[in-house]
Symmetry: C2
Subunit: 400 residues, 2 copies
């Protein structure tokens, strides 16, 4: 069948080119349909999540010709992931294309060392960190931080990949670290203290080229084995001052780095002598897993807001629609047939919202998410139970 | 660019074929993306609203080969409109295709006389009506109904088309009626009393082939010149008994007619000696304008529910997310450039949800809708003002 036709849109409506065809690009489709803006996706494979449901071209994110083809005639270029090389981004900008976020901002989501250096220069609270070039330097850092350390490759890590916990005297971790240094070929790696956090928080906002910014309520993220399993919106029992501090930090980072589009600031709540504090851990400059709850739970979803922000449209209301929304990720399990499982989930709980990404099932892979919402102030635990059960049933780790 | 690829979906996930490429088919796209089911649309034109955003073929709804091509391999066939001929529907069913709603049910949404006869047989409360074959019979009906009458062509009318108000002594209306009878070539037309209604209500529900049914709250619809301008959800101040009666009638009609998918029952609230009553006016067996508020206002939108119903998936929770949701239709105005107007609307009111259909602007044509929601029990008027202002600003009838 023929493709959706760009040329026949109402006059004046822009096209947004998205580099990368994963679930984040896929979830831009519903708000693009509502807003009447056109999406065009560059996917590595025609079976990619977004390519199944959007006009797309097939090509790599580091292939200049492929990126230029998808950007041709688009009002803006934006991203499903951080893996577009800086020289390519710079070349697009040099040609006058609106790249959002821009190369200079995106660097800080591509390179953890660049991010740490910049945040340090801004006096943003972060965990203790250092650049280390060999195992000896790593040993020194570990010896100085009793709680242990975590070694990170500056680029390419996600969902627990490219991250190595190193404790004093752990020979196996030390050997792995040595192989990472060798592979880095002299380039420094990032080492950080293992933060004794109370919990993990995320601040999500969107910022437009005009400088308008809007934040969603701060959420709590629950990770298992380095993978986000659950998001509680808003973070329950969050200290007001801490919420304010986290919002302030996120807005400052967005402004100082010149971010356009959605910015996710992931961090740690840590105890302190004068009350809890917020330490920034990671930045992502695109819609983010910690914001999937906004599709069902906020007046404006992060996907709609990302489109509005990169197009420099006025931003939407970010208020939560209900007291609580819980999001649980659906990870791939052993059985490939999701359809029967999700039929069961719908029958058991008519209030659960199921979002699947059209991805082939592989164990541990994020293949969807579910949300449940409710207004009972004391109902958070019940919502968590419902969300986790639905997610785990689709995964196949629970069967009744 | 190549089309979305059906074949690479996760195993077990069905394809829904939709005959008709208007905004109703378009608004099926977002829930299809979330559910992971695939949509395939038969549009009359590649520039049709749904064809801009979904895999599609171009062809007419009465072209058997075109309909069969789009249905090939689909789990079910469903509809954006009622204009598929009965013989074609019957042929598809004879071949074992799952046509939802089925031909026998859909007849009552295609032919107002068939609908009136069936509802009368079911003792469903309807306005006084008759089949009339000539102006003399029309005169008799008008003379017997002091409030006046409305003549309707049994097929093809919508948004005030195919509807003629006739009052005693109105020579012009009588002449128009004469031309309608001539065009009908002896086939009877429908005449009804002009109902002295308090207001117009609509009951929306979905019913699955398994017989599961779920209703949304009853809404009030506000029409101007035969076109729906505004929907208030739920209908304010609705009498509890009346709400129960309307729900009962709608469920009974859905069950007796064997409707699958969304059913909209439009009717009148009329005063009565024992309290207000509900008279059924029209039936639509597809997502309906009176249910657009559910996209933003209900846990399960009518578009998601229609997909779930026709696929015989368990139905979702139909509760309202907030106390009130107001929907206002955006009609085409004089200026073709909607983008600047909607930018202004977004800037003025971050809480308004704008939905545009990608349709070329023609005066009076439904080209989008807006919704606003709120929890203040006394806030309905303010929401109505916001929704109407946003809709009228995009239309161009207000400019500040």
């Amino acid at each position: 069948m023929p493709s959706p036709a760009v040329e026949t849109q109402s006059p004046g409506f822009p096209t947004v080119a998205v580099v990368g065809g994963g679930q984040l690009a896929r979830m831009l489709v519903p708000p693009a349909v509502a807003l009447g803006v056109h999406l065009r996706v560059l996917a590595e494979d025609a079976a990619d999540s977004a390519a199944l449901v959007a006009a797309h071209a097939v090509g790599r994110a580091d292939d200049e010709a492929a990126v230029r083809a998808v950007a041709d005639g688009a009002a803006v270029v934006t991203f499903d992931h951080e893996h577009v090389p800086q020289p390519l981004l710079a070349a697009l900008e040099a040609d006058g294309l609106a790249v959002r976020p821009g190369a200079a901002a995106l660097l800080h989501a591509q390179d953890k060392l660049a991010m740490r250096r910049r945040l340090a220069a801004l006096d943003v609270p972060v965990p203790a960190w250092a650049e280390v070039g060999d195992v000896t330097a790593l040993d020194d850092f570990v010896a100085a931080h009793e709680g242990g350390a975590v070694l990170k490759t500056p680029r390419g890590g996600y969902d627990g990949k490219g991250v190595l916990v190193v404790r004093d005297g752990d020979a196996e971790a030390r050997a792995t670290a040595a192989s990472w240094f060798e592979r880095a070929g002299g380039a420094p790696l990032l080492v950080e203290e293992l933060v004794p956090f109370t919990r993990e928080l995320a601040v999500l906002l969107a910022r437009s080229p005009s400088g308008q910014a809007a934040l969603w309520p701060v959420v709590e993220t629950v990770q298992e084995a380095g993978v986000c399993r659950e998001v509680l919106a808003p973070a329950p029992g969050l200290d007001d001052d801490l919420a304010g501090e986290a919002a302030h930090v996120a807005l400052r980072v967005a402004g100082e780095l010149g971010v356009t589009g959605v910015l996710a600031v992931e961090g740690f709540e840590v105890p302190g002598p004068h009350g809890p504090r917020f330490l920034v851990n990671e930045l992502a400059m695109r819609p983010h897993n910690s914001g999937h709850w906004t599709i069902d739970g906020s007046t404006t979803s992060q996907f709609e807001q990302h489109l509005r922000a990169v197009l420099d449209l006025p931003l939407g209301d970010t208020r939560a629609r209900t007291r609580w929304t819980v999001m649980a990720n659906v990870l791939g399990g052993e059985h490939p047939d999701l359809y029967r499982a999700y039929l069961h989930v719908m029958a058991r709980d008519p209030g659960v919202k199921v979002h699947l990404y059209g991805k082939a099932v592989r164990p541990g892979r994020k293949i969807g998410h579910v949300t449940v919402s409710g207004d009972d102030p004391d109902g958070l635990d019940a919502l968590r139970e419902r969300a986790r059960h639905a997610a785990d049933y689709i995964t196949g780790t629970v069967t009744e």
